[in-house]
């Protein structure tokens, strides 16, 4: 039996999984929508990965990252749970060892990571607001009646992107409607939206950061050719988008799972294990903490959100 390592990246919009062999080469990968239910998404993800994994492999390590990393870490009994910044950096370094700048725009987070000789030297993340991220882009695409897959190529057709104020989701939305009502062409609005995402990103997340090449762009939004084009235009540098750019977080955490393997063998049959969460407000003291209790096979395995540490 050959060892292999599973990395799961559970984002707000999509859930990604990869299985790496001992040389950190991808054996299997899968990308599905989270649809607001990370637990079910991971069950589906594991089913999908399990079905076409050759029999000669056994899983010797699991890592989780992304916004639901802790929850899913408990569910699959991961040997490592890490934040997505570190995971993305490690994943990208495995393909581009000399990378200097990682731009990442995901479902509700956007971040920039600066590296020097393979070490993170600086990073920053968006100010906890969804403006200019993937979820914002897809909701605007829906509003304009354009499939998100065509959004990028449509933006490329435009010569005169419309100016859109994208500092804040609410402002941007009203501005967008306004522009559409004024009769601007759709492709120009789409291009304007892509450009405003780039400008907003650089003014917010990228503020005061020294962006040097090689630059790698990843996260769901990196699949949007319009955004890539405007990044290159504004930065005046080539922006690399890896074919696996959406998987970098999962690859990174799989590598970390490999490096931190504890010798245990994992099964992917978690369909049969019941896993539930229960939210409640605790009234024992005036903190009124919102507790989240997690049950695995009807047994309480953890609870989060308590300030006093009683739980």
């Amino acid at each position: 039996m050959k060892p292999c390592y599973l990395g799961i990246d559970i984002g707000s919009i999509s859930t990604k999984g990869v299985i790496l062999d001992e040389n950190n080469e991808i054996i299997r990968s899968l990308y599905i929508w989270t649809e607001g239910n990370p637990i079910e998404a991971v069950r589906n993800l594991l089913d999908g990965l399990k079905d076409d994994l050759p029999d000669c492999y056994e899983i010797k390590g699991i890592g989780t990252t992304g916004s639901a990393r802790k929850l899913i870490g408990l569910m699959v009994d991961a040997n490592i749970v890490k934040n997505e910044i570190t995971a993305h950096a490690i994943g990208t370094l495995s393909t581009y060892p000399d990378v200097h700048t990682i731009l990442e725009i995901g479902g509700q987070d956007s971040k920039i990571i600066l590296l020097e000789n393979g070490i993170i030297t600086d990073y920053s993340m968006n100010t906890l607001c969804a403006a200019g991220t993937g979820s914002f882009l897809s909701s605007q695409a829906k509003r304009l009646g354009i499939p998100i897959e065509e959004f990028g190529s449509m933006a490329l057709e435009s010569q005169n992107p419309v100016k859109i104020a994208a500092r804040c989701t609410v402002f941007a939305e009203s501005d967008l409607i306004h522009k559409a009502q004024l009769g601007y062409e759709k492709k120009d609005i789409v291009a304007g939206l892509c450009k405003s995402i780039v400008l907003n990103y650089l003014n917010n997340v990228g503020k005061g950061k020294k962006i040097k090449g090689p630059i790698v762009f990843q996260g769901g939004v990196s699949k949007n050719k319009g955004v890539v084009k405007y990044f290159e235009e504004v930065l005046g540098e080539k922006v690399i988008v890896d074919p696996n750019s959406h998987l970098m977080g999962a690859i990174g955490i799989a590598i970390l799972a490999h490096n931190n393997a504890v010798g245990k063998t994992y099964q992917l049959n978690i369909r049969d294990i019941s896993f539930e969460t229960k939210g409640m407000e605790c009234n024992r003291c005036s903190n009124h903490c919102e507790l989240l209790k997690i049950y695995k096979d009807q047994k309480l395995v953890d609870s989060w959100g308590s300030k006093c540490g009683k739980f």
Partner: protein, 355 residues
């Protein structure tokens, strides 16, 4: 005439000295408002103007909770930025909500009008005695000093305690005792006794542990609810935390210290920049040149003085190649987002050390 009920906003543990002071100088019920909770924030946000800084919302929420618990006198202090103007608007908002109360603003238009405050207290309690008040004011100021001193020690060591929560328990015992202080000498005796005990709490601290300086806007620094227990999260990672801002600093040292900071960081700044902005720039330079692994700058959203300081802090950190993390907290910031950023920050300083 029935006894009046006095209440005031929360900030960290400072409700203890404030209660102590009021208890000794006026004959009135003292209502400690419920600790800041999600309900406080909900109430505060609902009735606040849209882009006011967060402390306004938190203190307004606390006042509403206190008024609902039958408080009829509210006390607020002012400060060197927008904070100084909170009182008049909060007073108006609460009146418009139909509450009946007296609002005492200790610092009005940047100044403390002692005569006016004296008159206000005389109205509450006709036996109010100024000499007695001044004595207890002195004792309270010492209490604040002792609390802050112990706090500084705890902050540096809590990440390394062997038995979980031993520092917090010891600190709570001390604060409980402080409430019973009969006078200055009694207070000092208790302080010395407890601090000796706290220093004896066993710790396991490597000599080259990670050190982080936390700077920023005062309310967010001092109220753990407003900074989402940032210091406790850092402690979990085994990090020594240095924080300058505390009540003692603001009340007694700031005036003198600002001048020092301005001199110390004169290649960056020439003037005071409002509130604690200049102080924080001076501290940034100090932290950058004294082997700190990183700096975390926190503030509430829309805090104008700190926004002005941020580009300069960033510049200094870039020059000295010290990582800096900026947080802007609002009433609806997600704790998970903060933890992710802190975890990544820790990973980063760890990687840097290894290099």
């Amino acid at each position: 005439m029935s006894k009046k009920t006095i209440s005031f906003p929360h900030m960290g543990n400072y409700s203890i000295p404030v209660e102590y002071l009021l208890h000794h100088i006026v004959d009135a019920n003292i209502l400690i408002a419920p600790k800041i909770s999600s309900r406080t924030i909900e109430l505060g946000t609902k009735y606040s103007p849209e882009f006011v800084c967060t402390p306004f919302k938190y203190t307004l929420g606390t006042f509403i909770e206190a008024l609902d618990m039958k408080a009829d006198i509210l006390i607020q202090a002012g400060g060197g930025c927008r904070y100084g103007y909170y009182s008049e608007l909060q007073n108006q908002i609460l009146e418009d909500l139909g509450y009946q109360f007296t609002y005492i603003n200790l610092i009005s238009q940047g100044k403390t009008d002692i005569c006016k405050i004296y008159r206000e207290f005389k109205k509450i309690d006709s036996h109010f005695h100024i000499i007695k008040a001044l004595y207890y004011l002195f004792v309270t100021s010492k209490m604040v000093k002792y609390m802050d001193h112990v706090d500084d020690y705890i902050r540096m060591n809590i990440g390394f305690e062997i038995k979980k929560d031993s520092f917090i328990h010891a600190n709570q015992l001390m604060l409980e005792d402080f409430k019973k202080a009969k006078g200055f000498f009694h207070l000092r005796h208790m302080y010395l006794k407890h601090f000796r005990k706290i220093k004896k709490i066993p710790i396991e601290k490597p000599s080259n542990c990670f050190k982080i300086g936390v700077i920023g806007e005062l309310y967010t620094l001092m109220e753990p609810f407003a900074n989402y227990d940032l210091e406790m999260i850092l402690a979990k990672y085994g990090i020594e935390v240095k924080r300058y801002t505390n009540a003692h600093y603001l009340l007694f040292e700031k005036k003198k210290e600002v001048k020092k900071y301005l001199k110390y960081a004169r290649e960056y700044i020439q003037y005071r920049m409002g509130a604690d902005a200049a102080d924080n720039i001076g501290r940034t330079k100090y932290l950058c040149t004294h082997d700190y692994d990183g700096i975390i700058h926190i503030k509430s959203s829309f805090c104008t003085p700190e926004i002005g300081a941020m580009p300069i802090i960033n510049k200094i950190c870039n020059q000295y190649d010290v990582p800096v993390l900026f947080f802007s907290f609002d009433a609806n910031t997600s704790k998970v987002g903060i933890e992710t950023r802190l975890e990544a920050f820790y990973d980063m300083i760890e990687m840097r050390r290894k290099k």
